[in-house]
Symmetry: D2
Subunit: 348 residues, 4 copies
């Protein structure tokens, strides 16, 4: 993130969440409906399997856009936090919730906004979705397409190759898995876990198509390294693999090598275990990767923990949380991918 | 990599490989023997299962060190490439080797140094090992320990938890796996694959101990995001997972949450599925991660490919290559980890 | 500007001006009154010699501050532009005003917000003053003092050494010159120029005291280089000199060398032609510099120019503008200096 | 300096001086003769008015160039320091020379290489000249011309407008002043000062022609701000002014405004007090600036000072130094200007 650059701000229950996007080219027509739709894909309370918490998330642009087009100057945007219920969080004030960032923030800063996770809250991803939507608008002229979908929920896993899926079906169900039958099983699983007051993890698969050869840099700024950083920075992500990934470690070279051949006057590879990237640079084939998401730590069950006075405490469930982060995270994965690609495109 | 910063240079068969390290604190005593030993852990021809290619890799420091101590100014270093056999590579000049960077570099730059992969060669990792060794010297005063080892070769996988292993045994065998029995199987496997002129992948496990709470930044500069970028930038890496990783996606929250408790007057977690990082910031527990390495693409078998004139060609095996990159890569994984940690330490 | 970093946004007549400050230490108590006072030193219509344009400039913080203290997370702030009179600027829409940024923005971006200069307007300096005020709060604990004042208006120049001035008098007159007699002459001069519908330039002198030895970096990141960049980025600045400056070029070395001697147990210099910086690093003596400001280009007279259709046009005076930027710029000079010093302090 | 980036290294009497240039476009033909000639313009002992110290300064490229053309990968280069006379500097080991960086380096780092100024030595500018020469090669295709010359030595000042000078005459005399008569006076002055064992300052004027409109960025990354930073980072520079500079502060707006008009189908300005930059962005007119250089502090006379033990000492003259840095600095000023412009060009 060097040319196209997002600087974001905001605590979960502070006044607002927002950001500044620098490096966006001038004269780009802003498709406000599209951006709003991207935010809707992320927003809470969108279906029976997401949190019932209501957040309006009304987006306001403050600068950088003039009569619907970008000026080339910084694009600032803001989403007000309307629902600042201070009292709701009073009893979490001095407590470190398990597997949250309460403890580490306190250690690092000696102070924290305890309300809803403060800066560590996934509410911060609003800024990513807005910047990602603008990045997608930039990439439109190259016809680059980014499609992410839910690949597994717990043990329920989509085993089909992405090439055998219809990406148009992703948005047709509330879990955002393009396989209809499996999507029902995933939804059922989430509801089952929800009843127990528990949460569950899963994986997201993402496919990026029509990236021309030449995106990425040698050595430290490899395309996959920048994708990994961007995606591993999303809350709850525990792993990233691209191309053949961990399964590729069990292959031998003669199976794994992607043989070049000519097709329609272009150099292509017969297989694509490389995941569209060789030597850190895109080769024109599909870029694809998989992400691991842990079960989110906010349970609807009592849990033991420790408070700031080093006392053992019981944390009782409070608020309304997602049982499974996956359906809402699909658009965030696409957004971070778009930001990385837009940056490499603009740096070329 | 913001304060402690490595800028590297060099093509595989150019005059030299080297780099400049900026941001190293002054008055650090340089342990030249240690650095040399780290380079020896990386060097070719170190055992019967690594390439028999001989490279002397004599390291020379050019600046930033005065009477054995750092000055606080840029530390430049160089390793000359003694063995520049131009002719050896003549018949690869116009050919794109499968799953190498030949094609993508040519697409990106319109020119490339075809000799031994040029800038895309893993010979570049010499610079990483030198900077990593200096980073380790910086981290010594915090008693931070970084131990990587070979966790699997193809299907042969070490299933023990890292806590049940003796890291002192890592360097006792040529594959660098701390389990003696398994190391023999791995070595056998590599020799078997080598005989067939093929190559094989595997995984590296890395454990970082004694990192104080507070390393890392919120949101985009999370510790795991920076580790992922640094490690995914190593040649042949296809995946990164930390803590519970991909297996964690199959867990439910009440299993996965790391419960805080008091131990010896300190706040600790009972389990460590978080992998020592919460909200992007270290929590004082062990940091651990696993990396997937693909089988390297240089085979000792003929392969089909395409040349710059878009003609189908057969590439005949040439040179001496590793069958399995894993034993030589252990020190590189440690080096990149050390660079990331030293940077966060110095930025604190 | 690496650790303490301001990212700003906003067009002069867009919705708002604001910014995000990253890298501010946590647990810093925010003195809101002080910040408001700094903004008042910058605001228009503060006296009979500044523009009569009324701008309320009410500052709102959006993040990073919790119960009056900084969280260590990004501090976002905003000032709404209340007075968006689109029509006032209609006839400047296609015209390039002389010595403004209209032409260059149009050349660079192919689009521009013509209302009041858009992004090029000095209204952007609100963000600098806010960040500078916070930087000053950081520097308070080192007792670092930054005092700027008006040194000349046109030919009327303060010839006294800064050591013979009482900085407490700077804010006692509307021109912000600590010499009472001269301040009256300056004010008279500005009123005289204003009557003619013209504008006038001048110089600002700035003294930074109590900076400990050791701020700054060798070679490219010298303290004076970073000060020069920060200060030359202010609208209308045409020159920067520190220490002996241009006058020093007429000296010989034996006059110019600052001889070291011992005073009160510390190493000091007898003279200070170095301006408190040697080899790019502060030496503990006063840092001082002078800045040249051109006469601002918005005249209350008709001027010839060219429009976007390449036609010759006459631009008639419009709006209310400063005759002399100097009194309002004093606080901006201090702000940019504080930002640079806070960054070096936090990077140490 | 973001895309085209020089990282340099080296102490004056360490093993070598050198650097790594990143971001140079691929397929650029390297004119080695030109680079060598640029280094010759900087080298010591080039004439009767420069130091008689002999330094061979043989340049060696180590990477990034293949068969005479750039690869797009980092270009490393090195100049060995042949003349490492440790003993010569023994008596300066614990002494702080007046107006040198000895004291500030010691304060900052607690250690320093005392030999010839170590990292603070102007020998470091070799790296700038090499990178600047490559930047000039990049700018050749835009026909951008950069000419610097000596404008004054002490009180002897060239008062002609740069438009009335013949830049071809700059290299015709040893002081590098394009006015023949004045050059003789300058040379005479330097010889006179030299006889007294003293040194003298002066100014450099630099003109950059044929820069297209659109180089530079708004607000913090203005073209003049980046030029100021780059040029103020050169040893001994005390001031920078561009366009009307300090003299412009005495003008009124109606004199200073550069009126637009049409000439040969292009928008031009009648005067150029703006110095080719408006709103931080080039407008297509000539960019010009002036730099103040102090008299260098190495005298051929005894001077009082203080040593590391806080004792008063007398420093006796040693070594061979320039009396006036100006003739050798002309190429360095051009180099830093070229680096800034090449970066803005490549970032566009």
């Amino acid at each position: 993130m060097k040319k196209f650059r997002l600087t974001s701000f905001g605590e979960s229950h502070g006044k607002a969440i927002g950001g500044i996007i620098e490096g966006c080219p001038s004269n780009l027509k802003i498709d406000f409906e599209f951006i709003k739709n991207e935010l809707n894909r992320r927003k809470p309370n969108q279906s029976s399997i997401t949190t019932s918490r209501k957040e309006d998330d009304k987006l306001e642009f403050l600068s950088g856009i003039f009569k619907g087009k970008t000026l080339g100057t910084p694009i600032a945007f803001i989403v007000w936090n309307k629902d600042q219920k201070e009292k709701d969080y009073e009893d979490l004030k001095n407590v470190f919730r398990p597997s949250h960032a309460d403890f580490t923030y306190q250690q690092k800063y000696g102070i924290r906004d305890h309300r809803g996770g403060g800066r560590a809250s996934a509410r911060e991803t609003i800024a990513r979705v807005v910047a990602g939507a603008i990045a997608k608008l930039i990439l439109r002229k190259l016809n680059i397409k980014i499609n992410a979908y839910v690949n597994s929920v717990g043990e329920i896993e989509l085993l089909k190759n992405y090439k055998d899926l219809d990406f148009n079906k992703i948005e047709e169900n509330i879990i955002r898995c393009p396989d209809e039958k499996l999507s029902l099983k995933m939804i059922e699983k989430i509801k089952e876990v929800k009843k127990k007051g528990d949460t569950i993890g899963g994986t997201i698969f993402c496919v990026i198509q029509n990236v021309p050869a030449g995106f990425g840099e040698p050595v430290f700024e490899k395309l996959q390294a920048n994708l990994a950083k961007a995606l591993m920075s999303i809350n709850a992500v525990k792993g990233f693999e691209y191309g053949s990934g961990f399964a590729g470690t069990k292959m031998i070279g003669s199976e794994h090598n992607d043989i070049f051949y000519m097709k329609d006057g272009k150099i292509r590879t017969k297989t694509n275990f490389s995941g569209g990237i060789q030597g850190g640079i895109s080769n024109g084939e599909d870029i694809y990767f998989k992400l691991a998401f842990k079960p989110i730590p906010s349970l609807m069950k009592p849990q033991y923990s420790v408070n700031e006075k080093f006392e053992k405490v019981i944390i009782n469930p409070k608020g309304r949380h997602d049982t499974c982060v996956l359906p809402r995270v699909v658009v965030i994965v696409e957004a971070m991918s778009a930001i990385v690609l837009a940056d490499f495109y603009l740096c070329k």
